[in-house]
């Protein structure tokens, strides 16, 4: 083996898991953002002022929900491919919330296709859409909570019980994600809806923002209490300075979002909501890195063989920008939602 070749073999197992962790984190973030506004609409759905508004809400997302959900599939499939050990431990551990999330996604997904085909039974698909959306959002939030709390692992297998995931902490993360998704979906409606519905969305956005900010405060206290290592990471003096931009920017984003709502701005609420999610996401990454199955298994321990990760990377590097390109085109071409629905 040549000098460079041996250097490569040392280098790849270190760098590839980092690259794949970044790619998967990106995919999951895009899902949280796109799937988030999409699920949040389902949560808001029963509260909407009129049938006409419900039709408009549904129509605003109908061309995009499938693409949004594909990021979740990439998150799952990518985890299997890049970190099979993490996938094989966490999915059995999260069996019940994942199944319930899938059931929720099925109910809301078919509602897109069915409700416009139905007359008498349309209200049933409206229920299916909002119930499925709420269920999926809550279960995703609970999954995040259970993930932060960590998993019982023996001999590389999950060794806990079927309800380990259900704790006070995960119950609160479930509600927190629901609030965050509602925040995103109000931002979406503010961009896309007609005047009356937009004004309604502005009014909903305030309580959603207050709830989201409150949850951020709660988790900033609760998460470090959960694991001493997380407290150490954030609160040792050197780190405190280095990491201080994250909480400071979060405070700034909340304030700016409040102002943007007051000023009835059109596009900034969604963008600032997305920024807030990004900051929470960064905070979580700082807390948990480098663990992919907290509290013990790192991205390097869980990584697929370097050869497998490399094989996928050859495809992912050219394909991801192309995917982002045509997804953006699809949003551009289909941006303008109907001002009114033709059924009424």
């Amino acid at each position: 083996m040549t000098e460079t070749a041996s250097q490569m073999t040392d280098f790849l197992p270190v760098i590839l898991p980092l690259v794949w962790a970044a790619i998967l984190a990106f995919a999951v973030f895009l899902y949280v953002l796109l799937g988030g506004y999409d699920l949040g609409l389902g949560v808001l759905f029963p509260l909407a002022p009129s049938h006409k508004d419900r039709d408009a809400m549904m129509a605003s997302v109908a061309p995009f929900w499938d693409g949004n959900e594909t990021w979740l599939v990439l998150g799952g499939g990518g985890l299997l491919a890049a970190f099979p050990l993490a996938y094989s431990i966490m999915l059995p551990a999260l069996y019940i919330p994942i199944i319930l999330m899938l059931i929720g996604l099925i109910l809301r997904g078919v509602a897109f296709e069915f409700r416009f085909k139905s007359q008498r039974s349309r209200f049933l698909w409206d229920y299916a859409f909002s119930f499925g959306s709420v269920l999926a959002a809550l279960m995703q939030g609970a999954i995040i909570g259970a993930f932060i709390e960590g998993f019982a692992v023996t001999d590389n297998k999950f060794s806990g019980g079927p309800f380990d995931w259900l704790t006070p902490f995960s119950a609160v993360t479930a509600l927190a994600l629901l609030a965050g998704y509602v925040m995103l979906s109000t931002g979406w409606l503010i961009m896309k809806a007609d005047d009356a519905l937009r004004e309604w969305a502005y009014r909903i956005a305030y309580p959603a923002l207050i709830a989201m900010a409150a949850f951020i405060v709660i988790f900033s206290i609760w998460t470090p209490l959960l694991h001493p290592e997380i407290a150490t990471r954030w609160f040792t003096p050197a780190n405190m300075v280095m990491l201080s931009p994250v909480p400071l920017a979060t405070v700034a984003a909340v304030g700016a979002l409040w102002l943007a709502l007051n000023r009835r701005q059109r596009y900034t609420p969604f963008l600032l909501g997305a920024a807030l999610f990004m900051l929470c996401y960064t905070g979580l990454a700082v807390s948990l890195f480098p663990y992919i199955v907290p509290p013990n298994i790192t991205i390097w321990q869980a990584a697929a063989a370097p050869d497998s990760q490399l094989f996928m990377l050859y495809g992912a590097i050219p394909l991801l920008p192309i995917i982002l390109g045509y997804t953006a085109y699809s949003y551009y071409a289909l941006w303008h939602a109907p001002e009114h629905d033709a059924y009424h």
Partner: protein
């Protein structure tokens, strides 16, 4: 049994969810391609009838595709929730194949589906046509990767097993193009096209019988028939080649399919029997001498291994593969016959007037789905007790999840799938009933009401 068995329940759940799912790709792979052809004909000839048919079937496509998407997402997670040991030990191999499916197929379909359904008036015609092409391409690319992964599990190649039991890839080319993959891919894609062709021809025949949308019905029937007349016989050849391949790589599966217990030369073709695994023999056997060897080895005196050549713990139970195979082949022969009779009538100029034959077409139109399901039951039950053939047993692939959890999820899936399947079929039936000439025409750009409704131009009154 007091203890709920998570292995058995997981197998039932996977069989149930994947059987439900495969119905939709079997239909949408063919439909997406046909819609491209229709749109191309419209763009080329300018005849509105092609666009009307395309618009009508796009709605049916959308409902089917949506159900395929939601039922498919479930499967991508079940590899972890229910088969985590397969994921842990086989993740290096199957993980990248499935990720490539997401990156090259799912995003392509999802990204362009919105334009295909909602973009009729919002993008230039050629962009819409391009989007339709991309969706159709996505369905085939998806089939490519998932059949590669499935075939690798049937006929694994290009890997080594490390000391900790984890599989590592030694040659990606051998993994992807493993021995059974080309046959399985060709067989499945042909099956999907045939399934769609029979549905399209059958519904076309129904329109002619009902004297509604007759010109549209004639085009559907004509296009369906022109595909199936040559593809049904070709599928027989592909299936035969697939069988030869399976005999080489999965001889126990072939023994189960043929219900052969003893290894023998000049083996008979068993037409009917009740295989009895406990007694290791068949009851009520009806057989044609020597034909089994001829079919499977293409020689009168070829040797076929029997189930007894394998230790009992390595044998699949022959009952399901035996019967499912006969159902599949039976349907294949019916398809060939329908194609021949149909083209005979067409050549004599009597196709559209032979009401008895149009009725036959209506009745046989859903048979493709049954054939696809039967074929997959042959493939999947026939490879037992292995998940990765000869490498990882199904019993060792299952997740450490209690049986109660799996029972809970299985019941939920059964409940929800029956509701949405019933509703989906009902709405598709309503769409079919309305007929393409009752579909409102595409509005002009300034009156684009229909185009931005979900399921473009759903045409609800």
């Amino acid at each position: 049994m007091s203890e709920l068995d998570p292995l058995l329940l997981s197998r039932i759940q996977f069989a149930f969810t994947i059987s439900f799912h495969i119905l939709f790709p079997s239909f949408t792979i063919g439909l997406a391609a046909w819609l491209v052809v229709l749109e191309a004909l419209w763009l080329r000839t300018g005849k509105a009838i092609y666009r009307d048919i395309a618009l009508h079937w796009t709605k049916i496509f959308a409902v089917s595709f949506g159900m395929g998407v939601v039922s498919g997402v479930v499967l991508s997670y079940e590899f972890g929730t229910n088969w985590s040991e397969l994921s842990r030990r086989g993740g290096n191999v199957i993980g990248p194949l499935m990720s490539y499916e997401v990156l090259t197929a799912f995003f392509l379909e999802a990204g362009f589906l919105g334009i295909m359904l909602f973009g009729w008036n919002r993008v230039p015609k050629w962009v819409h046509f391009f989007a339709s092409c991309m969706v159709a391409l996505g369905t085939v690319v998806s089939a490519f990767w998932i059949l590669s992964a499935n075939s690798w599990m049937q006929t694994p190649a290009g890997f080594r097993v490390a000391e900790d039991g984890v599989l590592h890839v030694t040659d990606w080319w051998q993994v992807i193009f493993n021995p059974s993959f080309p046959y399985r891919l060709a067989h499945m894609v042909a099956a999907a096209y045939l399934t769609t062709a029979f549905i399209v021809a059958g519904i076309g025949a129904w329109y002619i019988l009902r004297e509604r949308s007759v010109p549209h019905g004639r085009i559907m029937l004509g296009m369906g028939l022109s595909l199936l007349v040559w593809l049904a016989p070709l599928q027989l050849v592909i299936g035969d080649q697939h069988g030869l391949n399976a005999r080489e790589h999965q001889p126990a599966k072939i023994a189960a399919v043929e219900a052969h217990w003893e290894t023998q030369r000049s083996a008979p073709l068993i037409l009917f029997a009740i295989p009895d695994p406990a007694a290791e023999k068949n009851h009520f056997e009806i057989a044609i001498p020597k034909l089994g060897s001829l079919i499977l080895t293409h020689r009168w005196d070829g040797e076929i291994q029997g189930l007894k050549a394998f230790p009992p713990e390595d044998r699949p139970n022959p009952i399901i593969p035996f019967f499912a195979f006969r159902i599949m082949v039976g349907i294949g022969l019916i398809m060939i016959a329908v194609g021949l009779v149909g083209s005979f009538l067409w050549l004599r100029g009597r196709l559209f007037d032979s009401r008895w034959f149009l009725r036959v077409l209506v009745w046989v139109s859903p048979l493709g789905f049954l054939a696809v399901l039967s074929g997959w039951f042959v493939a999947e039950v026939g490879r037992q007790p292995w998940t990765v053939y000869g490498v990882l047993r199904t019993a060792d692939a299952v997740s450490p999840v209690p049986g109660g959890s799996v029972l809970f999820s299985l019941l939920l899936f059964v409940l929800v799938y029956f509701i949405i399947f019933g509703a989906g079929l009902y709405y598709i039936a309503k769409l079919v009933q309305r007929g393409p000439d009752e579909t409102p025409p595409v509005p002009e750009a300034e009156d684009a009401d229909l185009s931005h409704r979900p399921m473009a131009a759903a045409g609800n009154p």
